[in-house]
């Protein structure tokens, strides 16, 4: 069995760390050997965040080797573009349609990539690219913080693990009074991907 390599990228505060943890725990519950590694930026908030998750029969390294990402789950457009080189040509990209501008862009010393560049780049980057309005879906549910679980729901539609496994892991991992909201977010994300863009 080939190891499945996931890369989760985003900006501190978007909930990527919980997402990578859930993904690793789901892999374990589904019977895989798993490893996960989080690289957190220096900043508590607002820095770039990267999580590596690997599922396989026997996983050695906790980090995905260069160029071998099967699924890139990008929580933010710039942080998605930054890691495109690591995705296999036959890999899958899920990219949340949200821009968070670095301070250098806000203060005018750097430029955020424009829509045209983003679209052209994504077109050639991988075979399957899913542009997910994750923040909109989360906001429709009344809480922007469930963005991470919306994206997990979308990812789940591409994998063979049963939705019940995801649900049981989510129930363990999210705060008890937010379980229902998170399960809704999971299914909204899953449905969005199943129904097509």
């Amino acid at each position: 069995m080939e190891t499945i390599n996931f890369l989760i990228t985003g900006v501190g505060g978007q909930g990527t760390v919980l997402a990578s943890h859930v993904m690793a725990a789901v892999g374990l519950a589904a019977g895989y050997d798993v490893k996960k590694s989080d690289i957190l930026g220096l900043a508590v908030r607002g820095g770039a965040v990267v999580g590596h998750v690997r599922w396989g029969e026997r996983v050695h390294s906790p980090i995905v080797p260069e160029g071998r990402v099967d699924y890139l789950v990008a929580f933010e457009i710039l942080e998605g573009l930054r890691w495109l080189n690591q995705v296999r040509p036959e890999g899958t990209i899920l990219i949340n349609q949200q821009e968070i501008h670095p301070v250098t862009v806000g203060s005018g010393t750097a430029t955020y990539p424009d829509r045209g560049t983003v679209d052209r780049t994504l077109q050639v980057a991988a075979e399957k690219v899913h542009r997910i309005p994750g923040l909109n879906i989360a906001q429709e549910l009344g809480n922007a913080r469930v963005l991470n679980v919306v994206l997990l729901g979308a990812l789940s539609a591409l994998l063979s693990v049963k939705p019940e496994t995801w649900e049981s892991v989510l129930k363990e991992r999210v705060p008890s009074h937010f379980v229902d909201l998170n399960l809704q977010a999971f299914h909204k994300g899953r449905e969005w991907l199943q129904e097509g863009e």
């Binding site: 374990l28 798993v34 490893k35 590694s37 770039a48 390294s61 080189n85 203060s107 560049t117």
Partner: protein, 595 residues
């Protein structure tokens, strides 16, 4: 039960299962989560000590008292703790003593990339290195057993990639007697008093212990010879073992769990049984040099870099360049992403109390700033570019005094945070007073140890376990040190900060400015977003110099100057008011007052 644990969670779990009674440490990436997780077990007394040396002494005291003890720190913390680390090598222990050092190959959050394996050899004690979370837990127990059996402290070295990675761990029950009270101290001054008269007798004991351990190290089950293809043999430990295993699934391996003293018989056996021997290790040629000293031919640092993390890709590329792997096996990344993407470097958060200090210091261009360890390191980066030096915990205060006695013509200040002041800033302040120095020391009191994740310290009225604690008053310490020119100013009063700095710098003697304001994450929270009035704003750009993520260029340009006006992101702004205070046109106000 099998659960997913990070390396740090697994070390904490190991402390629980293997009967640790006392756990201490000082926060530092990548070690901080160990004690934070230990604190969840009420059977273990845990504390954030004031610095690593104190943490080491507390753990040593507990081990002398017969209890199992663990002390945790980041790699540079070992330098602070080293003085105490060395004496227990001579005294030995009663309860097991595990010293956990979390190294940072790749320097993800550190000022250097020092290889703490040298400490084991330097001090002549055994060292364990786990390669995943299961081993991280198991090795805590093995280390404590070794410590008690061999009457020595044991070094446990993790690295960022073990501490911050997660893998499955089989959980067990706690093995400890938590009901019997601690007996009176078994007195033994000939061992525990390291006066030269008695310590002299201990040195041969240390040498004999190490020799004996080296002789039987090949029998330890955690040093494992894995025979495979005889063409290539690899010696590796820690995460590097897994990277190499992934690249060479068929090769023969010596997987080391104990990396000091080395199992010489196993190394010899592997070397004799393979055509080529590779030693793959991060940072220094620690294993390689010892193996070569055994008269064994091997390749190591001539193939693999001494700097940075060794990932699968780095090892593959290096091996391919050296002709050990075919070049086509190296996949590497592709070139599909646009070049020159803007970076996302760390910044002071919206509402950060340090912002006023660095805004003012960046205006005072003639003032040299000796910086220190903490979030306020970001004062060295744009838009502030204010900090001139930064090296180690507490260094700012001594370095400033060095500027003073060397006679630099510039004005200068030391800038140090509250936790860092308690850690290592008090002795150099006393030194300034005693030696009639005239430095100005700025203490940024944000009521927490912010950078490592908001741990407590003596100025915080809560202990690690949540119990209330007395709050130590920084100003009282400063005054008791003999400083008479003391200014206490709110961090959120930009003009007040500037005035205090000017007065302190003008004082003919030692002076201290305490800039007081809580880190946003431990403070009262947002007071509501502000707004910039685009009719009043003329794009002067002064507010951009605060480096606040909430203040951005708006699309609108000022008709006269052609410069972008300011816009405040209502989601990010927490209403700290600093930008409103410095706006020369009073264009920035709380949102509600504009409605």
């Amino acid at each position: 039960m099998r659960v997913l644990l990070s390396g740090n969670e697994a070390i904490a779990r190991g402390a629980y299962e293997y009967g640790v009674k006392v756990a201490t440490g000082y926060p530092g990436t990548p070690s901080s989560e160990i004690l934070e997780n230990v604190a969840k077990y009420e059977e273990i007394y845990s504390e954030w000590s004031v610095n690593e040396k104190v943490a080491m002494d507390v753990a040593i005291g507990a081990a002398y008292a017969g209890q199992r003890a663990m002390v945790t720190m980041k790699q540079v913390g070992m330098n602070v703790a080293a003085d105490s680390f060395f004496y227990t090598v001579y005294t030995g222990v009663r309860g097991g003593l595990l010293i956990v050092t979390a190294d940072d190959p790749g320097m993800f959050s550190s000022q250097n990339e020092q290889d703490n394996r040298h400490y084991a050899r330097f001090a002549k004690i055994p060292m364990l290195e786990p390669s995943d979370s299961q081993e991280a837990k198991d090795f805590v127990g093995i280390g404590l057993d070794l410590s008690e059996e061999w009457d020595t402290s044991v070094l446990f070295r993790t690295v960022m990639r073990i501490s911050h990675s997660a893998s499955p761990v089989e959980l067990g029950e706690r093995e400890a007697d938590d009901t019997t009270p601690t007996p009176p101290l078994e007195r033994n001054p000939h061992r525990l008093v390291c006066t030269c008269l008695w310590a002299r007798e201990r040195h041969p004991v240390v040498e004999a212990r190490l020799k004996k351990m080296a002789e039987i190290a090949s029998e330890f089950p955690f040093n494992r010879l894995e025979w495979g293809d005889r063409g290539l043999g690899i010696v590796a430990s820690g995460p590097v073992y897994h990277y190499a295993r992934e690249i060479w699934p068929e090769a023969s391996f010596l997987k080391l769990g104990m990396t000091y003293p080395l199992p010489t018989a196993l190394i010899q056996e592997l070397a004799d049984g393979v055509e080529e021997l590779l030693v793959i290790e991060e940072l220094d040629p620690f294993l390689e040099e010892q193996i070569k000293a055994m008269g064994i031919a091997c390749r190591g640092k001539d193939v693999f870099p001494a700097c940075g993390e060794l990932t699968t890709s780095v090892i593959e590329r290096s091996a391919a360049e050296a002709g050990i792997l075919p070049k086509e096996t190296v996949k590497g990344g592709r070139q599909v992403a646009p070049p020159d993407l803007p970076g996302r470097s760390p910044v002071l958060c919206p509402g950060c109390p340090h912002r006023s200090t660095f805004y003012v210091l960046s205006k005072m261009k003639d003032v040299v700033v000796a910086g220190d360890i903490g979030c306020y390191n970001l004062g060295a980066l744009p838009p502030f570019d204010a900090t001139d030096t930064m090296g180690a915990m507490g260094a700012s205060v001594g370095v400033a005094h060095g500027f003073d006695v060397a006679g630099i013509p510039d004005r200068f200040v030391a800038v140090i945070g509250d936790s860092t002041f308690f850690h290592a800033g008090i002795p150099p302040l006393l030194n300034i007073v005693h030696n009639r120095g005239k430095s100005t020391v700025v203490i940024l009191d944000n009521h927490t140890t912010a950078m490592t994740g908001h741990q407590d310290h003596p100025g915080v009225p809560v202990m690690l376990g949540g119990q209330p604690a007395p709050k130590v008053d920084i100003e009282a310490i400063v005054r008791a040190s003999g400083v008479t020119d003391v200014h206490n100013v709110s961090a959120f009063d930009v003009r007040g900060v500037e005035k205090a700095f000017k007065e302190a710098l003008a004082f003919d003697g030692p002076s201290v400015v305490i800039v007081d304001g809580p880190c946003f994450f431990v403070g009262p929270g947002s007071t509501g977003a502000y707004e910039a009035d685009s009719d009043l704003c003329n794009g002067c750009g002064l507010c951009f110099r605060l480096g606040c993520p909430a203040i951005v260029h708006s699309e609108e340009l000022d008709a006269k100057t052609g410069r972008a006006k300011a816009r405040i992101d209502p989601v990010l702004c927490v209403g700290c008011d600093m930008c409103a205070q410095i706006c020369p046109r009073q264009a920035i106000r709380p949102t509600e007052s504009m409605e």
